[in-house]
Symmetry: C2
Subunit: 319 residues, 2 copies
């Protein structure tokens, strides 16, 4: 009987899930809609029906040992999703409890960036590391912080909100209701805003002048940077400058062995990595210089979120 875990990654639009063995092999994976309903029970009934169908496609005998869930605003201590702005379920949703009732196996839940950090530790580039940080650069900026081999959840389960440290007072308006948060500058959305800032500030010609804000994506900015577009390159430089400065402060807090960049904007590779590294080193205290690796995530794109969620429950079952 092969022991497997279910890894579930809940996003605003889609929920991805996979059946993962202890070695990190994904036996099957699939995705379903998250936002077709604002009734969480209806959502879960549909998700569970789909998962059962997927399980039936696996020919070898398996035993589901537990379920790990990564979700925006997921609270590890309570197994709840709390006031997630990108989900239709409002207030505090006791998701882990609801899932446990249906499956009757151990369920653990955390936010998506913490799940990514666990995935990195168990299956990715952070194997054998006990102190490292994963920065997820998607619509926002998330962070999963590992100290002494454990994810930092803090007193209330909400530690690691690096996306909301302040870059600039009275800076860009943030979804959290404040201004100047790091993710308004450094994320797939942040770099879009930066492109528009430079299109406004400068007179440089740029193919980006033909692209609307709604059309623009981080991928397109990378595409134009590769073609030598000045505004695109300048936008990566600016994004890397702010990220590098803030990572220098982060290192003074945690002194990690490595920092991993993950998610949509990280796909830009050296365009984002090089300026970030340069500004990070320039801003570090001498005792930290040249010591902290800044690298792209060692996890593949496709099922990283699912692997991370499954890693959460494997780690829980070890305790």
């Amino acid at each position: 009987m092969k022991e497997v875990a279910l890894g579930i990654d809940i996003g605003g639009t889609f929920t991805k899930y996979g059946v993962v063995d202890r070695q990190g092999n994904c036996l099957v994976e699939n995705s379903v809609s998250t936002d077709f309903t604002d009734d969480v029970n209806e959502y879960l009934n549909n998700l569970n029906a789909e998962i059962r169908k997927s399980l039936e496609t696996i020919t070898e005998p398996i035993e589901v040992k537990g379920i790990g869930i990564g979700a925006p605003n997921g609270n590890y201590y309570n197994g709840t999703i709390e006031y997630a702005p990108n989900l239709k379920w409002k207030g505090v949703v006791p998701l882990a409890k609801l899932v446990q009732k249906i499956w009757n196996v151990p369920v653990a839940l955390t936010n998506d960036a913490n799940a990514a950090a666990l995935g990195e530790m168990i299956y990715g580039g952070a194997k054998n590391m006990r102190n490292f940080i994963v920065i997820t650069l998607g619509t926002g900026l998330g962070s999963g912080i590992v100290v002494n081999g454990d994810v930092v959840y803090g007193h209330d389960g909400f530690a690691g909100e690096l996306g909301h440290i302040n870059v600039k007072h009275d800076g860009r308006v943030c979804g959290c209701g404040r201004k100047g948060c790091l993710e308004t500058y450094v994320s797939a959305t942040g770099i879009k805003r930066t492109v528009y800032k430079f299109l406004a500030d400068s007179m440089d010609e740029s193919e980006l002048r033909g692209v609307s804000y709604n059309e623009l994506s981080a991928e397109m900015i990378t595409h134009y940077a590769k073609r030598g577009d000045k505004i695109a390159i300048q936008s990566f430089e600016y994004t890397g400058m702010i990220l590098g400065q803030k990572l220098a402060d982060t290192i003074a807090n945690f002194s990690p062995e490595a920092i991993f960049l993950f998610g949509g904007l990280a796909k830009a590779g050296d365009f984002i990595l090089q300026p970030t590294k340069r500004h990070m080193e320039e801003n570090l205290m001498p005792i930290y210089r040249g010591k902290v690796k800044l690298v792209l995530s060692g996890l593949g794109e496709i099922n990283a979120a699912v692997l991370g969620a499954s890693a959460l429950i494997w780690k829980e079952l070890e305790k």
Copy 2:
């Protein structure tokens, strides 16, 4: 036979030591000169001779179980003091090893702020807390960070350098060789610099206009604030504003249960506590607001450093 630990707190000028039992009672304490020599062996011979004299004054039978040392730039992993700008011993000094050779008992060493955090956890206001931060406001700003019940040392033993996160690019010159570090604004020295900034910027009358920079101390600034001196009060407000803003970021990293202020500047009480609290709350993400206690250290002044150092070795012996 009563079990005791030696707690040793090494400062630039004086070294304090005490003989502490498991309940945190200091059976005897004393201090010796640190800077009478630049030969670390000569320093240790003198320190050990003094400690032996102190032990002889204790009438009940005791057994020294271990020695805990707090020192500037102390590295927990290596038991070394590394490139401490305020000590006469240059480079990397293997202090724990040298002390262990003499006493032949377990020795543990960390920096003074980490020792203060352990003291707070074992004897002070952080009993039963597993996630909290101690900020020491002395000549500089130190921080001891506790996550899941353990001090955060990071990958290389140098985590928790909150004094060197950046407040302002091209800000005040810092002893670390960079500019704009938090401790250049928030520390006993930082507030002196702020007083001088306001004496320069404003035309307000102030008794502080009669005090030279060298004479000025944090204690005097508190004294004048109590008398209603506008520059003194404004300086506390400015210091609390910067500390409050940065603590809001710190909370987004660690989500602690409480933050303790400790050391010379913390003696100003509400003058520093109130503006810090106000600006911290104003700058917090909504999910953290009203949740994190900001309080003065629960440790008494006199032997807090020694208690903290002894706490380090008691904790080590528990492992």
